[in-house]
Symmetry: C2
Subunit: 157 residues, 2 copies
DNA sequence: GCCATAACCGACCTCTTCGGTAGGATTTAG
DNA sequence: CTAAATCCTACCGAAGAGGTCGGTTATGGC
């Protein structure tokens, strides 16, 4: 698996927040119930999202979480990276402040890294997919397919 | 990390085999030495490559491994999949015999899987990158950059 | 002021995988 | 026969995944 369930659960959580129209916060408990996910585990995940500045929290009774920005402005690379850590195809890849990627094997006196070309392409493909998808798209996609499902069930009944 | 060092080491091993021009087999020991990788670990990896039909082996003295097909016909999706197992962005994705991908959450009576769109795109990006890269490309890329490095060292001396 | 609600925080626990080692069995060229 | 090589199985320490638990803090409603 490329990603763990941290990304899966976290994205589901974000979509759930994105569904809510108003600006009133959503409690984690209701999200956990809706998605049938363990509340205590979601707490860890939402903490990462909060530290990444993707959601804001209000404490106390009737508190909860809401998106820090409109869903259209939230791209999934930020979400997944917040949850899974740096997205790189391989251990030896790290971002440099100025440049983009660097393979740690290249500093060796040895011959050049034969895998670099491959991982660059993989990196590009993943980045493009993640950065090119907004939370708003996922929200729309899920509500749309949900309504078609309801229509199917309705016609079957 | 998207992939573990299994993919890294295994690809390096394949490139090393691809470098060799003749049809005489290359011993794992020489590969291990050239790439400075532990021999006993490479044995595990090359076993997977062999079972996947990517390399052939000849036992006994002067034995070793060689590519089962010309490097131009070996695409990296087969190599990485042999080493890492099924490539899917998420646990709930599995290939069906007829169709392409299926999310296991969709069979639930619950609302549709809100993450499917995202993982489909990621899957597509990775598949495209892996399937669109041949071993021959990596061999050429690494030998080319190696020769330029030699030129630099030569001019510096 | 109390209390229910909910965010916060850190410790812990089990299980699997990763990366690697070890020891042996088997095959083959010279 | 022997050295070189593939092959095979078992093991092992460290790390991460996927949670659980208990407690602390903040806040709205009565």
């Amino acid at each position: 698996m490329l990603f763990s369930t941290k990304a899966e659960y976290g994205v589901r959580l974000m979509v759930e927040l994105g569904r809510q129209p108003g600006s009133q916060p959503v409690s984690l408990g209701s999200v956990a119930e809706a998605e049938r996910l363990p509340l205590s585990y979601l707490e860890h995940l939402v903490a990462k999202l909060r530290k990444a500045g993707l959601v804001t929290s209000t404490r106390g009774a009737h508190g909860g979480y809401r998106l820090a920005k409109p869903a259209e402005e939230i791209t999934m690379d930020a979400v997944v990276e917040a949850l899974e850590g740096q997205i790189a195809p391989m251990e030896c890849f790290h971002d440099t402040p100025e440049g983009k990627v660097l393979c740690s094997h290249e500093s060796d006196g040895d011959h050049a890294c034969s895998t670099k070309l491959l991982w660059m392409r993989v990196q590009g493909g993943v980045s493009k997919a993640l950065a090119g998808t907004t939370l708003a798209e996922l929200v729309e996609f899920s509500t749309k397919s949900e309504s078609t499902r309801r229509a199917v069930i309705g016609s079957a009944a």
